[in-house]
Symmetry: C2
Subunit: 375 residues, 2 copies
DNA sequence: ATTATTTGTCCCACGTGTGCCAATAAAAAC
DNA sequence: GTTTTTATTGGCACACGTGGGACAAATAAT
C-alpha cells in the first residue's frame, strides 16, 4: 500500500503547516519521482536489515523482508557496486561506509517512513486491507483533497478490470476523485452506478453525477437512479417496484467494487435537511459517522438508516472490495466510526491529518493493537 | 557526464563542512539511488520549460530540450497522471498545482544543479571531454577519495572494451581506484601496463602494483616494468634496450586508455627524493603540477621531465582517451596546471573541493569562458 | 564426510520503453 | 466559407532489459 502512499515532513522538528507553507524537498520529490522514493526506502531497508542480522545470506534476508531472493539480488548487486556492503561466503556484511550511511540516513528516513508506518498501524487497528495516505490535511487546504482524490482514483484504476460493476456514493471527496481520474478506455466493459439516489442541493456532488463523470472518463456504461434520495418509506417501496428502477438496483446490487465517501453525521444530516426530531434522534443515539445513508456510532454500530432507494447494507456485504475515501482531521471521528463496522475487504484513502488524528483517538481509547513506534 | 556526477549541498546557506559532518539528504539519496537526481531534474526541467512556453506541444518541447518526442511522452504521461500538467489539442499547460510545484521546487533544485553546472563549466574552460565530480573534499576526508575512486572505476569500466590496452600511473588516488573497482571478467582480452617504473617507498601506490590489482579484478593480463622510476639518463637508455623491457614498453605505447593521477609538484618531488638542486630547479621554473614524471607550470607548459623508463609524452598523444583522477582543494592548482596541457580527449574525475577551487582560480585569473552563474 | 549454508550463473518469459505511423483538430491560406 | 497546412495527441508493433526460477560451485558448520 506504499505504492501511492506519500510522505510527510518531520525534519524541522515542530513541523510547520504542511499545506499552505513551503513543502519540504522530500514531499516534492515524492510527488515528482514516487517510484524512486520507493527504491530509496527499499534499499535503505535492506541496508538496515543487514546491519541488524549481519552476516546474513540473501535467502534469509529475502524471507525476512518479505520479498523474493531474485528481486533482492539485483539490489544487493547494486549496493555492492556502491561499496556499501561486502559479500563473502558467510553472507553479506555492511562495509564501514555502509554502516556510516545507514546511520546518517536514519534520521532522514523518518521523513519518508513515518506515514507508511502510520498507514500500516491504522490498517492493523481497523482490520483494513490497505491504507493510503497523502501528506497534508484537507481541512486546511483544498490541494490536499485533490491529491487524495488522485490517489484514490489511481488506486481505483489499478484494481478495475473489464466486466466489473462499480458503485459510487456522493460527496465532495468523491467528486474530487472523479475529477482527478485520468481517462482510460474500458470499451464499455465496465458499468458505473450510483449507490444511492440523488441527494441535497449541489448536483455535481450527487452520486449520480459522479457515476456519470467516472463513466465518461473510463469510457464505461452508467445507469442512474433518477430519484430523490430521501423518500418516505412507503413511497420508496412503491418506486422500487418500477421496472427501470428495479433493473438499475439489480445491477447495483451485483457491484464488485464500492467507492464510498464518509461524512460527519451532524453535517450530513443538516445537509440532507433532516427534521429537528430526526436530528435529535441522531444526537441521542450517538451517531457520529455517515456513509450512503447509514449512520454509525463510535462503536461502529448502525444506529440510524435514512429510508432511501439504492444499495442496502446487506448488498454491501457481497461487494468484493470497498474503497473508502475521506480526509481532514475533523472527519477522523466519523471515519473511525464507519470503518469500525465490519465491511468487506476495505481500502482507505485518506490524508495525513485524518490518519494521525484517528491514531490519536484510538490510542486515547486504549484501542486494540495500540502499539507504540518501533524505533 | 552527469551519470556519475553527484551533488553538493548548499541548502544551509553557509555550507557546513561537507565531509566530516552530516551529509545532506540529497547526497545520501544520490548514493543510494543515483538515477533519482537525473529523473528529478529531467521532470523538473520539463515542467519549467512548459511553464515558459505554454501552451506547447510535445514536438517543439522535445526539440527545445534536446530529447526525442517519444521519450518525452512517457514523462509527460506521468506528469499528467500526477495532475501537474493538462493536455489539450493546443498543447500542454501547467495546472495550478504544477505551477505551484515548479515554484516551490525552484529553490531546492540548486542543491542538485550546482555541481553539474560546475562540471560543465570546468569542462568548457579546460576543453575536457567530461568532468565527473563527487561531493566533498579529499583533503578533509578519506571517504571522499574512496568515493572519487569508485566514480573513476565506474567510468573506466564503462569505456573499457575487449582488446584494449590500459596504462596506469601511480599514487594514492589511483590506488583508491584500483581498490574500489568492482570485479568483472574480460577473459584476458585486456592488458594493463604501468605507465612508469616503480616509484618511491610505498609499494601499494606504485604504478606496477596498481596495474596488477586492476588486472586481477578485471581478469586481464598485465605486464610490469621491474625498474626503479628514476634512473640516471644513461642507465635508462641502457635498460630500455633490454628485450623484456622493450616489449613491455611497446605494449604500453600502444595503450588506448591512460589512467593517470595528478600530484602537486613539490610534494611529488619530495616523495621522489629529488636532490636539493633539482628541487630548486623545479621551484625556479614554476612547476606546480606533476603527472607520471612530467612537471607543468601554471600555463600548462612542461618545465621539467624526470628521466625515466615508461611512457613518454609523445606516446600519450596517440592514446585515445585519458582519464585523470585527482581531488582535494589543495591539489587544485596542480590539476589546473596539468590539465591546461593539451592532452587527447580527457575526462577528469575529481571532487567538489578541487572542482570549486579550480573554478575559483580560473575566475581569479580572468580565464576564458569565466561566465557567471545563469540565474 | 556430510549437510546446510552461502554466492554466482544461466535461460526463459514477461513487461516496459521505444520508434514509427495514423487520426484529429486548430489555424492559416485561398 | 472552404481547403490546405501544420500543429497536436493517441495507438501499435517490436525489441531490449529486467525479473523469475532452477541449478551449479564453494565454503563453513555439524
Amino acid at each position: 500500500m506504499a505504492h501511492v502512499g506519500q510522505i510527510m515532513q518531520t525534519r524541522d522538528e515542530k513541523r510547520p503547516c504542511t499545506e499552505s507553507g513551503l513543502r519540504t524537498m522530500t514531499e516534492l520529490q515524492q510527488r515528482l519521482v514516487p517510484e524512486l522514493i520507493d527504491v530509496l526506502t527499499r534499499r535503505y531497508t535492506i541496508l538496515r536489515t543487514i546491519s541488524l542480522l549481519m552476516p546474513v545470506g540473501r535467502r534469509v534476508l529475502a524471507k525476512e523482508m518479505g520479498t523474493t531472493e531474485r528481486k533482492l539480488r539485483s539490489e544487493v548487486e547494486f549496493l555492492r557496486e556502491q561499496g556499501l556492503i561486502a559479500t563473502s561466503s558467510v553472507g553479506m556484511v555492511l562495509t564501514s561506509e555502509g554502516q556510516q550511511l545507514v546511520e546518517e540516513l536514519h534520521g532522514y528516513m523518518h521523513e519518508v517512513h513515518d506515514l507508511s508506518t502510520a498507514e500500516l498501524m491504522l490498517a492493523r487497528c481497523l482490520d483494513l486491507e490497505g491504507v493510503i495516505a497523502v501528506p497534508g490535511d484537507s481541512d486546511s487546504s483544498e490541494l490536499v483533497q485533490k491529491d487524495m482524490g488522485r490517489a484514490a482514483a489511481h488506486y481505483l484504476k489499478s484494481i478495475l478490470a473489464e466486466g466489473m460493476v462499480l458503485a459510487v456514493s456522493g460527496g465532495t471527496t468523491l467528486a474530487a476523485v472523479a475529477s482527478t481520474l485520468v481517462p482510460a478506455n474500458f470499451n464499455g466493459q465496465l458499468t458505473v452506478v450510483p449507490a444511492r439516489g440523488g441527494m441535497g442541493e449541489d448536483l455535481s456532488k450527487q452520486a449520480g453525477s459522479i457515476a456519470a463523470k467516472i463513466a465518461a472518463k473510463l469510457n464505461a456504461n452508467y445507469r442512474l437512479l433518477h430519484l430523490p434520495d430521501s423518500l418516505g418509506e412507503k413511497a420508496a417501496a412503491v418506486v422500487a417496484e418500477e421496472p427501470e428502477i428495479r433493473e438499475v438496483l439489480e445491477v447495483a446490487r451485483s457491484a464488485s467494487i464500492l467507492l464510498l465517501g464518509i461524512g460527519a453525521a451532524q453535517a450530513m444530516a443538516r445537509r440532507r435537511h433532516l427534521r429537528p426530531d430526526q436530528l435529535a434522534l441522531l444526537e441521542h443515539v450517538g451517531a457520529v459517522g455517515e456513509t450512503f445513508g447509514y449512520y454509525f456510532n463510535r462503536q461502529g454500530e448502525i444506529v440510524y438508516v435514512t429510508p432511501s432507494t439504492g444499495l442496502k447494507l446487506e448488498h454491501i456485504k457481497r461487494v468484493g472490495h470497498v474503497i473508502a475515501v475521506a480526509g481532514g482531521s475533523s472527519k477522523a471521528e466519523a471515519m473511525l466510526a464507519v470503518l469500525s463496522y465490519d465491511f468487506p475487504a476495505t481500502t482507505l484513502v485518506t490524508d495525513e491529518g485524518a490518519l494521525l488524528e484517528m491514531l490519536k483517538l484510538i490510542e486515547r481509547r486504549g484501542g486494540p493493537l495500540a502499539t507504540r513506534r518501533d524505533d
